[in-house]
Symmetry: D3
Subunit: 277 residues, 6 copies
């Protein structure tokens, strides 16, 4: 079941059409205003498809009279040669919308493809892979949606929806226990995660009854110790520059979550192209 779509994707789409179309598509003037075409959008890569709601919004804003027939569901597999969608209508409108549609689909499918790849590596474990706040500026909610489409999970959306207590916050409160207590007291329905540097701090976090503990840059062997020490009391998240190879080993420790900046801070665009029929 596809994840929830953020409200007002219209605003982001307007911004992106403005940056591409701006004062008008001058090359489109070479085409008669009443000429119609039929095109299909083709994948040239393997991957996981993502971005339909954004594409639909673009077509709607550029020309609500276009006929848009999707051949693929959000989250389905992409393969070279596959037709994603067929669009018919004004040639000017379709060519004007093309690049903005492709840019959203190639970027969001890149995120879902990467997410699906990482998720597949740890399918034999119970770990959940999480994204981070290391995202491409302005694409936070779109990328986090794509992460979900690819089979990974979302860490907090931003600074507003969950606690993540780091060294500085701990110091300001006078210790782990005080920091967790204060956080829990402040916002009853926000989960409280705290970052720890070692097993001693983990014990303090367990006593403080945090919801989640972030094991910051723990070696794999220490993560294993942490999992044992914890005994399922809290949720444990391994974090800190984790590469693909070590990720599998970490997953096998039984840790609950691994967070990966790579899911959203990097992007290897999926290759798509528009074919005029």
């Amino acid at each position: 079941m596809p994840p929830t779509i953020p409200f007002d994707i219209a605003k982001l789409v307007t911004f992106c059409l403005q940056e591409d179309v701006g004062t008008g598509d001058i090359t489109a003037e070479l085409i008669p205003i009443d000429k119609t075409i039929s095109v299909k959008l083709i994948s040239k890569d393997n991957g996981i498809f993502c971005g339909r709601p954004w594409a639909d919004e673009i077509f709607q804003q550029v020309d609500s009279s276009l006929t848009v027939n999707w051949n693929i569901e959000e989250g389905a597999e992409l393969y070279p040669g596959q037709t994603l969608v067929q669009i018919a209508g004004s040639a000017r409108s379709i060519l004007t919308a093309e690049r903005t549609v492709l840019n959203f689909l190639q970027t969001l499918s890149a995120v879902s493809t990467m997410s699906q790849h990482y998720a597949s590596l740890v399918r034999h474990t119970t770990v959940k892979l999480l994204d981070t706040r290391k995202t491409l500026p302005s694409l936070r909610s779109a990328q986090k949606y794509a992460v979900r489409i690819g089979g990974c999970f979302n860490h907090r959306m931003g600074l507003f929806d969950a606690f993540l207590i780091k060294e500085n916050h701990i110091a300001a409160c006078g210790g782990i226990d005080a920091a967790v207590s204060k956080a829990k007291a402040l916002y009853p329905n926000k989960s409280v995660e705290i970052e720890v540097q070692n097993l001693n701090e983990l014990e303090l976090a367990i006593s403080a009854e945090a919801d989640i503990v972030m094991l910051d840059n723990f070696e794999c062997s220490n993560i294993l110790k942490a999992v044992k020490l914890n005994g399922g009391r809290l949720k444990l998240e391994a974090s800190g520059g984790i590469e693909a190879d070590i990720m599998v080993s970490i997953a096998e420790t039984g840790v609950d979550y691994i967070s990966l900046g790579a899911l959203t801070k990097n992007c290897q665009a999926i290759d798509l192209s528009l074919l005029i029929e």
Copy 2:
């Protein structure tokens, strides 16, 4: 000399702070409102630094009373351990601004670093490497600025500032000559680029006196023939899924421009971190 900055980067920055801070940084409440800190932002990678104007705008919007001292110029080399900037002031403000600043710098420095890398591969030739409209949604003008910082060059910004005539436009006009003539007639001060599929079409484009010809998916040997055929009359641009290795060979043909979607559609974030002093 740094390139021109687009007007109203404030709008993009507001959008990005909204997505991260939203209804407020709840963890920041654990820190006394009058606590001040001093931090420095450190590079953990090699690369080319880019994004100061966006970072400055973020600090300004979050808390205009922060003291921000830059230790690096836009476009300078990054190396691990290097201090980019020192910031002093309200602990809450600095921690709230941190991630949005890092996200801009890591993304834009990624673009300038990639651009500098490609540019260095062809420094022994006269070619200019160009970006494309394959950009991350909403980051078009920021990325194109970063491309310039990295030593590559900008193709058109969008559909509004130059002609790029493709097959469909040519067909609608009844041929290359007609298409170029019509374009030149429509907008006297817009450059006219036309895409050709083979050397015959190139000859037509030369007769039509286009400004630039895009050699679409030409093999390297054909690019060489095109360069000779052209004899410096028009500008020639090689385009179409060009990888790093073949790029150098193409550059050595004497072609004027090579356009590379990879400069802006992919992103390998530069690793940065904030150190509290």
Copy 3:
């Protein structure tokens, strides 16, 4: 320590100045443009003061050269005759800003005063009083800030930052256990609250390990049974049209939270006025 301020209160303030000042304060034209005055803002009621950040933003947007000296801290007690702030500068600017400032302060202080009143009634218990999403349109985050200032606590900000699973969601998932499990699986760092209609459902919610259970329209005697049954395992929230008198009895059952729509859906404005010196 005052709670975190939502990002971009500037946008709401601009909207509100637009609705009051619009095409310009015509009566202000009767006053010479260079006339300066000094005024003070006086309370005519008892209560808890709230709204300084919004007032400061209004003064800033109307005329950044005004001198604004506050005599009261956010959250301090108000009494008749008390001076809240002294403002000096352009007479036109001060009179133009006056009503928008007063409207924010009288509305937000109303919320914090009401919150403080309810909180004081249950100070002898351990209950925390929570607000709801029943807020005045567009004032959600401002009112929730005022609730905190008044000594109550915030339930979720909106539909985005915590689960609140109701009958319909439970039915769609096939039961309480399935609904809670699915929610926990979807978003690891979002707290999961579920609404129950009776003690049987409470037992199911406890087994399902929800974070919080909302006891929907439970009679006081049943809340007491729920508290005993629960034995501190989950957090319990009493909810549903709770009036002041019954609220105290409910608080004394030992329930963790009581949520009160009245904190934010009603408003009894604090009376303030501007005195020209």
Copy 4:
């Protein structure tokens, strides 16, 4: 006949959906995306219904495919158990829109109900009850529309559409006569109201041919004298912290208008709820 609707209520509705839905309704994900439901919105209070245009705009923005059938006209009486509207369509969409719709209806119906209550108290007189600029921030035009729906009348919308000359303006002009003359000279088609403190000033305002005179905090007996003195020459408005009991006496003096901050600065939300069929 319903009053005119302000242009661009879409902007306010977008703002309010943004504050509630934000990055997405996470609980809605527990419901299959293709599940449909039929619901009805029920009143639990007596009152005067107000807010249909805002509700319609919310449904339109959340999901334009919802079927919305109203059973009540704007301004009609509400009673417990009454069905206001039936909505059918996507379960996710309806549950996502629910709270924002309810918040608008409960707030605006509160205003129209209060207005109707006050209006009913003075129906045996010729007085018109007016609202003020003491409104809930950002709801100025919506509340003033609701005041009209409830049978009271609107004072000026803001600082831009009518003169209201107070002590400071009078002093700056050098007297009541000079102030009124200057105002009339400045904007020919704006009505000129002036505030007076006593009967002497009223005489000056009458000589100056103001359109309306505001009797500021006059005792009831003085209002009666003012009405007689005026002899129907100007319109007279009684103003200043007028409570319900004294309001009736004032109305019976024959004064033209009584302005009441209470119509819009306070809010006693009408209780509504959504029933799933």
Copy 5:
């Protein structure tokens, strides 16, 4: 004394800088980023100067570090060779701001100059010349400010701030008397103007006690009759395609107002230029 400035001129200025600067001033890149210049803005025409607040806002938005010294007051006379303002600072910033500043000043000074011209023609009479709603799209409030600067007066700002009852409204109400009564009943503090086609209708409007009567396309002789018939009871406005020559005759009839679409629907730009010192 200059008229009131509409709130949020910043929004219009942002819009206009966006349309001119957009993705960046590419020619400015030819100038070193640290080069400073000093320039002065010179008039090449006679006229009445208008537009300082908009110019100041442009300089502020482009580069708040520019030094801006005005040599002329709003509303003062312009003559060829006169220096309006001296600006010093970044050469790039000044050249980027130049055109938008000039466009505002040349357009608004055109309006104030035209207004002053018309006003001077009727200075021997008591008539007030009014603008209309026939304005350049998006410049309504800026142009109406300029009309005032030039010595004419403002009719209503828009559809929201005064009644102007025309044939269709009269027909819908069943006559002049009914229309005026209804209007006065609806909004107590809005002035009521009604359009009449002949002297009979004028008599009806007088009986109905409208505030202003618009004599629609009356011949000069009929306006004179109307003035006599009215005997100073209401305000009379002559309207309808009135040219300069006939305007003077009309003014001499003793009519109160003449409204002139020409003040704002036409524009003969004042010639200004920037001189680099």
Copy 6:
């Protein structure tokens, strides 16, 4: 074939409806909400019609249920008495939309009419008449569209889409040759225009291979010399306060372009009116 329409004309239209309708059309309240009318919009002038896309957007935003039947194509000739469009539907909606529609059509048709007039004067030559950046604030892209409709051509849209190198830029680069070279190096697909003061500088510009040379305030005889000297190598543009009479002589020199600020900085509105049937 009509020129390309800028993206997001919706934003400008919203701004303009806001300035006219604002908090609501109060006079419209005199008309029953369900009354329908049928109207037609008539021209009272000769000219060239322009502005349909803006009018359509206004009708859409005010009331999408109106029936709008156009009788005239964009760019067709206007004559007195001609019906432009028939609109049927809600009387309130039509009267509310009327003035904003008329203001766009009268302003844009003024531009296209003026453009067509100038173009007709030089039809016997090969010159193209260009607009400038001297436009009415916020109407840049709308006016440039109208210039095209009238048969003239667009110079650059703003500072972002083409080079126009003036004295200051030349000085900063150290000469014409250096300035042109640098510009060509910076942005490969932007055309490079340079301003020259005399024939010597023209020779330098020709050597430098600029795309276009602006002959700044050249006398007609010198333009003729410039045309001969150039021999068709570059495009030549005559510029600088050119009046209608001298324009024809200049056109006959064989110069490629003449740019005319008068096309867009002045405005002589086309007279239109709404007739209710």
